[in-house]
């Protein structure tokens, strides 16, 4: 008998499909990625729209809830059985990474073309609103993977997958303390890598609260 994953059907309309698509993708079906991409994009834009509606300082609790909701809608982590959750954590973090990086690449490209966008970016940076450079992070993470693959996976799961320390620990089958240590070293290394590689030192992955 084939092992069957135990994802709980979520309350939303399509997470079931996401699970199936994730499975197909992890088994090498590239068409699944094509189907997953718009789903992640939609979630991303839904989130962005809500930021635009609610953007006010001091709403970090609500922000956290929104992000959690977005992740939950993509993959209903909490309700999975442990054994298979681990697999899905890993796969979905990888997937979200891939799609967000692709998205960021496209946006960067677009900004490159439009004069307006570039100037807006500069205003933002000068004004202290540091925006993400996910593409540079992705490159740095690839370098980190050469050095210490587990640390890269910790970053992938925590940052891209939105997992907690405990969850990451369970996926990687290490103690939470180890994850904390990996996390702090990786963060320091990546930060140095990104700020070092960019002499202006301004582009970072810090987000405004």
């Amino acid at each position: 008998m084939r092992p069957i994953s135990m994802q709980k059907a979520a309350q939303g309309e399509w997470p079931c499909d996401v699970t199936g698509l994730l499975r197909s993708w992890s088994e090498g079906d590239q068409r699944a990625l094509e189907k997953l991409t718009p789903i992640v994009y939609e979630e991303l834009h839904r989130l962005a729209r809500r930021y635009m509606q609610h953007e006010r300082p001091g709403h970090s609790l609500q922000t956290t809830a929104l992000v959690n909701e977005a992740y939950m809608r993509l993959v209903d982590y909490k309700r999975m059985q442990w054994q298979n959750r681990a697999h899905f954590f890993a796969v979905s973090a990888q997937l979200i990474r891939r799609i967000l990086i692709e998205h960021a690449r496209r946006r960067n490209l677009k900004r490159g073309k439009g004069i307006q966008h570039v100037s807006l970016e500069e205003t933002a940076v000068v004004g202290g609103k540091r925006t993400a450079d996910l593409v540079a992070l992705d490159d740095a993470m690839k370098a980190l993977a050469q050095l210490d693959p587990r640390k890269e996976r910790v970053v992938e799961m925590r940052f891209f997958g939105g997992l907690s320390v405990e969850e990451t620990a369970k996926v990687l089958k290490v103690s939470p303390v180890t994850v904390m240590r990996d996390w702090s070293t990786a963060k320091a290394w990546l930060y140095r890598e990104l700020s070092g590689r960019k002499p202006d030192g301004l582009r970072s992955l810090e987000t405004s609260r």
Binding site: P38, Q53, A70, I96, Y191
Partner: protein, 972 residues
């Protein structure tokens, strides 16, 4: 850096971080033992760590989303800066007109052509998604080809700095939404707009362009009083309609904050057609339904299908008949009400089939009211009762059909009648004790060929021929290959049939001489073949490179000049039979969907220009034929489990009028052929029989029983068999019996009842069963030792299952059915789901999971529902029957609904459930749609609706067979 070195760096960094900041410097100096490079490495990391702050602490989704929000906010302010005079490409911005879900709209001057235009920038969701973008470009280019005075013209589709822009006609006026604002429009305006817009729809549909989002916000009225349809081709954009096919900013509308958020979705749902809500493939008729909603709103100022939530609105659209418009606006003519009602038919085959028909009816109404001849009404007239797909309604329909049948019978006894066929006039042509089915006539009408023995489709029977009226039946084939669909060659010298060898699944057409002789191969990869000329054939072919994608093609007998006519959209679907209309324009088709279920009959144009339309009632089409004048289609269809003949008029391009059932009664029909004079048809008429079987490691064993036995259930130990027994096939008394399989002794448990369904408690002490009496379904409980008479548990319920201490069942409401449970003593009746259900299946032995077919917003299928909290998990995308073994170790999923005779799939999956876990995750597509890979390793049984025994090798099932002979049925 090598790995040891890195480990050293890592551990020193961690050790430093564990120390208070003040001690770190000293610690590093000591720990690095003068290795300057090491020390520098750790120190820079330490510095980075201290600086990093919130770096990476917010999840990537948030970072990316905030980046978008941030850019958009700036973009918004920058676009406001598109002041008069600013030039984009060759357009000079004049003014910002509005923004909404579909983007931002500007008024601009085309500098080159010196005309005013509207520029619409699409939202990022579209711009960022390459697939959505290319789809948009395709659609918009198609729409830009539309040139009609009542369609807002799209001039160009361009890209500006990576941002797609639509350049379109600039309009001055307001949307219909703004015109209506809760009030009915003046009647003459309604007619003007209605005629213009139906004409515009007709033009678009003729070019194959469907709008998909017709609603007042997309309809525009110019200051000069002309109506325009906006945004053709845009509704299909994006990953889902709810996020993108939203309120569209009309060119002259200023930004409207209320046009965002949930209200959008509600607004959109209100105008959706039933097929849109069911997420079925759409054709142009979806626009006609939405247009009907708009007409209704123009006529009354109100929406026909209202509700608090999109779910409630969807339910209304699917199941409710709207308040007659004349009740809301007594000044309306009855004819308008009829027109609106015909637009709002839920079954699209009963709706207007073309926008031009609506236009014609509205124009006629306009002419008549201009000349004062329109009949105005204040009396209550009702909208045409829209056919509901609701199962309860189907039951009502059957009852009505039954009543009609008896009324016809009474009529016949009483005097003149108008029924199409009369059982008393049937002339029996064959007299076999098994079955003769699938008749086909020779072109001179003097010979009939047919299939004898067993099931016709891919059956094990043989091909026969008979000279009419009383020649001897002669067997023509003798081999053991599966075969079906015999037809005569044009000269009547041979019979062609489809032969299938299952060893390698090859579909071939063979011929055999009518005077007897060896069969000869006519064409490989050809099935369901018939002649449409001396040398030209129409047949089904499996598409090259696919496993089973079968469509209809035509070619010469030597396969020259082959041309495809119709292939079903689904790559596993198969179109098996085809009949060309005598006027040679249309082909009637019988097909299976991707889940190997027979579909409704279909008519497609012979030139293959479109996929045509479905015809006949909701049900499974088995065979069809044309009348000689091509005016009528005769359809052999299984509706609600009963196979009869129907007919429907064909009006060139679309069916006319409702399908009409023409044969009735306890006998059923299988296959038909219409005589060349059109005055009679030949069909197989007979009865379906059912036999019971058990299966164990040694194989299948027939259970010999008197009468018609159905619905077998095996005891948990596999030693006793429960079943329903009808003494004869025409009796509707169904008793519950139990048989001891070892001794062969049978005992009645419940007698003299019309039992519809039942379940046995796990300890076999009690049975629960459903009886239909006095127009109501009632659930009773009885002791198997017959110590007391059956006791009524609940009224208005059926499809009952035991769970510990309780009964689960389908609660039958007047308008909807629900999944419910009740204590065995009849107390504590509760619904498990608020959502209505279609069918109800088994319950897990621990009482944790119940199963039901239902729709949750856009998610349709058969679900397991957690009894405790209503959480659900989809098992099949369509109807399947789910049950558990008594020990709870296996779940059995049969790919058929519980009482549907329509499905040909005879398959039950047996899925092992890991210890201690109530239910599994299954392929997301549903077991019935899952790929072979997803199903790999899952055991299956080649029978539908098996009853589980003590282990997966032991089960019971019923096998139904048809026993019938050919009859000639005169037509009136």
């Amino acid at each position: 850096m090598d790995s040891d070195r890195w480990k050293q760096v890592d551990s020193l960094l961690q050790a430093a971080l564990e120390r208070p900041e003040s001690e770190r410097d000293k610690f590093l100096r000591q720990a690095c033992l003068g290795d300057a490079e090491l020390e520098s490495e750790v120190r820079t990391l330490l510095a980075s760590s201290e600086e990093a702050g919130s770096f990476l602490e917010n999840p990537a989704m948030e970072v990316a989303a905030q980046d978008i929000a941030h850019t958009k906010n700036n973009q918004g302010s920058s676009l406001k800066g598109f002041h008069a005079g600013q030039v984009i490409s060759h357009y000079r911005i004049v003014d910002k007109l509005g923004s909404g879900g579909m983007g931002v709209v500007y008024k601009a001057e085309d500098v080159r052509l010196q005309r005013m235009v509207a520029l619409k920038f699409l939202p990022d969701e579209v711009a960022d998604d390459p697939q959505a973008l290319s789809r948009f470009q395709r659609e918009a280019r198609a729409a830009s080809a539309l040139n009609h005075p009542n369609i807002c013209t799209i001039y160009e589709v361009e890209e500006f700095e990576g941002q797609p822009v639509i350049v379109m006609e600039l309009l001055d006026g307001q949307t219909l939404k703004q015109c209506i604002r809760g009030k009915a429009l003046p009647f003459d305006e309604l007619l003007d707009y209605g005629i213009e817009m139906s004409d515009a729809l007709a033009a678009a549909h003729a070019m194959g362009i469907i709008h998909r989002d017709i609603k007042p916000a997309n309809l525009f009225v110019t200051k000069r009083g002309n109506s325009k349809i906006l945004d053709f081709g845009l509704a299909k954009l994006g990953p889902s309609t709810d996020s993108l096919a939203m309120e569209t900013a009309a060119p002259t509308v200023t930004a409207d904050a209320s046009l965002t958020g949930a209200g959008n979705v509600l607004g959109t749902v209100s105008y959706m057609s039933p097929e849109q809500i069911r997420a079925k493939p759409l054709d142009s008729r979806t626009d006609l339904f939405s247009f009907g909603v708009v007409l209704y709103e123009m006529a009354t100022g109100r929406l026909p299908f209202g509700g608090e939530s999109s779910g409630a609105i969807s339910d209304c659209i699917l199941n409710r008949v709207p308040t007659p418009p004349t009740r809301l606006n007594p000044e309306l003519p009855a004819e308008l009400e009829r027109i609106i009602g015909k637009c709002l038919e839920k079954d699209r085959n009963l709706r207007y089939q073309h926008a031009s028909e609506i236009r014609a009816d509205l124009q006629r109404l306009q002419r008549d009211s201009d000349s004062g001849r329109a009949t105005f009404t204040t009396v209550n007239s009702t909208l045409q009762l829209a056919r509901s797909s609701n199962r309860w309604m189907a039951v009502v329909t059957v009852v009505i059909v039954g009543l009609v049948a008896s009324a016809l019978l009474a009529w016949r006894l009483g005097g003149p009648h108008r029924s199409v066929t009369l059982a008393s006039e049937y002339i029996q042509l064959t007299n076999f004790n098994d079955s003769a089915t699938a008749p086909a006539l020779s072109s001179d009408g003097r010979m009939v060929t047919f299939f004898r023995g067993g099931a016709h489709f891919l059956g094990s029977g043989q091909i026969y021929v008979k000279l009419l009226p009383d020649g001897e039946s002669r067997q023509l084939t003798f081999d053991s290959n599966a075969k079906y669909d015999p037809v005569f060659t044009p000269d009547g010298s041979r019979v062609a049939y489809t032969g299938v060898s299952f060893a390698n699944t090859v579909w071939e057409t063979w011929t055999v001489p009518v005077l007897g002789g060896p069969p000869a191969l006519l064409m490989a990869n050809a099935a369901g073949l018939s002649w449409i000329g001396p040398d030209r054939v129409l047949f089904s072919e499996v598409e090259a490179g696919t496993a089973l994608h079968m469509g209809i093609v035509t070619a010469k007998e030597n396969r020259a000049e082959e041309r495809s006519i119709y292939f079903p959209a689904h790559e596993r679907a198969m179109a098996h039979y085809s009949w060309l209309s005598p006027d040679r324009n249309w082909v009637l088709i019988v097909e299976m969907n991707g889940a190997t279920q027979w579909q409704r009959c279909r008519v497609v144009p012979m030139d293959g220009r479109s996929a045509g339309v479905e015809v006949g009632p909701e049900g499974a089409c088995a065979a069809a034929a044309w009348s000689p004048d091509s005016q009528w289609m005769y359809l052999n269809m299984s509706v609600d489990g009963s196979s009869h003949l129907w007919r429907q008029q064909w009006g060139q391009r679309a069916p006319q009028g409702n399908p009409e059932q023409i044969t009735f009664g306890p006998t059923e029909e299988e296959g038909l052929a219409v005589a060349s004079d059109g005055k009679s048809l030949i069909a197989s008429v007979g009865v379906r029989q059912s036999s019971l079987w058990t299966h164990d490691a040694a194989g299948d064993h027939a259970v010999s029983l008197e009468g018609v036995a159905e619905a077998p259930r095996l005891s948990p130990d596999g030693k006793r068999l429960y079943y329903l027994l009808r003494k004869s096939s025409s009796s509707d008394v169904r008793e519950l019996w139990r048989r001891d399989l070892a001794s062969g002794k049978s005992d009645p448990l419940v007698t003299e009842q019309r039992i519809a369904d039942y379940d046995v408690s796990r300890d076999e002490a009690r049975v629960a069963f459903t009886v239909r009496m006095a127009g109501e379904s009632r659930i009773f409980l009885a002791a198997t030792d017959r110590s007391a008479p059956p006791r009524l548990v609940v009224r208005g319920g059926d499809l009952v299952s035991f769970s510990p201490g309780q009964l689960f069942f389908r609660q039958l409401g007047g308008k909807a059915n629900y999944l419910a449970r009740v204590q065995e003593d009849g107390s504590g009746l509760t619904r498990i789901l608020d959502t209505s259900v279609v069918e109800v299946g088994g319950v897990s032995p621990d009482g944790e999971w119940a199963t039901a077919g239902a729709r949750f917003a856009s998610e349709i299928g058969t679900f397991a529902v957690a009894v405790r909290n209503g959480a659900r998990r989809r098992i099949c995308a369509g109807a399947c029957f789910v049950q558990w073994s008594a020990d709870g170790k296996y779940m059995y999923v049969s790919l058929t609904s519980r009482f549907s005779a329509a499905a040909v799939t005879r398959k039950t999956y047996v899925i092992q459930i890991p210890h201690g876990f109530g239910l599994l995750d299954l392929p997301a597509s549903g077991l019935d749609r899952a790929s072979d890979a997803e199903l790999a390793g899952i055991q299956s049984i080649p029978q539908a609706d098996v009853s589980p025994g003590p282990d997966p090798q032991t089960y019971a099932y019923a096998s139904a067979a048809f026993r019938g002979n050919l009859f000639r049925i005169p037509l009136h």
